[in-house]
């Protein structure tokens, strides 16, 4: 089956991202395809490369980056949600005249149309959080 995944909550505060990660891993292990993972609302915070959790805890951002790399996943952060929360890729930072960017490897920033398309193209859109 072809899945799309939407994640609506940020890391640590809420378990949504952890559960989505476990779901994605299990789905891939079972031979399913993941069309896209879309991060919305505070879920965009899962894509910051500046998160440094304590060493004895899971690093959620790094887990996503590794999973994406190993499985060639398309992980999209909503631009509208990201901008109001201070998530910025290098191109956008430059365009906005900002002195920093903070998107982790494996994530890209794009529009809400990518969420709608993810729903249209997948057999199932599974939503985590909110």
């Amino acid at each position: 089956m072809k899945f799309s995944i939407q994640i609506n909550e940020g890391p640590y505060q809420h378990q949504a991202s952890d559960t989505a990660y476990q779901f994605a891993k299990a789905a891939l292990a079972a031979g399913h395809e993941i069309f896209r993972i879309f991060f919305y609302h505070d879920g965009v915070n899962n894509g910051t490369r500046l998160a440094i959790p304590p060493q004895d805890d899971r690093n959620i951002v790094a887990l996503w980056t590794a999973l994406a790399k190993d499985n060639d996943l398309d992980m999209v952060i909503c631009i509208a949600a990201a901008q109001r929360r201070g998530l910025m890729d290098a191109d956008e930072a430059k365009r906005q005249g900002l002195d920093a960017d903070n998107i982790a490897e494996g994530f890209r920033i794009s529009g809400l149309g990518q969420l709608i398309e993810a729903g249209i193209e997948a057999d199932r859109l599974v939503v985590f959080g909110a």
């Binding site: 919305y40 509208a80 949600a81 809400l112 149309g113 969420l115 709608i116 729903g119 909110a130």
Partner: protein
């Protein structure tokens, strides 16, 4: 591109969290994809459509006028759960009157709001292919 039945389920009050506003943003962007779209307002989500919202005292943008533009985006099916209104002491008169213009009938103005029972809404939900819940 395939046409799917999309339902946006709005469950939260308009202010207090950002879900209502960011749900509306998805609906407006999603309208460009020509899908079969409907909205549902249940629980505290019914407060999103109340008339006369004034956000001055909380220092936030009042985005409620945007709902009246949904008809122009061809979002014409807005389900309101009857029990949710009643549980909150509200009636349809407390909500904005949302309409759309039917091109096929000389742009006749039609009601977008469909007042349905909890059981009826469950049936409508069962027909959907994509449910985005906010």
């Amino acid at each position: 591109m395939a046409i799917k039945k999309f339902m946006y389920v709005n469950r939260k009050p308009p202010y207090g969290t950002v879900y209502a506003l960011e749900s509306l943003e998805v609906v407006l962007i999603g309208a460009a994809f020509d899908q079969d779209v409907s909205l549902a307002f249940i629980g505290d989500g019914v407060y999103q459509l109340t008339k006369g919202q004034n956000t001055e005292a909380i220092g936030q943008k009042n985005f409620s006028p945007v709902y009246s533009a949904l008809g122009d985006y061809e979002v014409t099916k807005i389900y309101i759960e009857k029990e949710s209104l009643e549980e909150r002491g509200l009636t349809l008169d407390d909500l904005q009157h949302l309409v759309w213009e039917d091109e096929d009938e000389d742009y006749a103005e039609k009601d977008s709001i469909r007042l349905v029972s909890r059981a009826e809404l469950a049936d409508v939900m069962a027909e959907q292919e994509i449910i985005l819940s906010f």
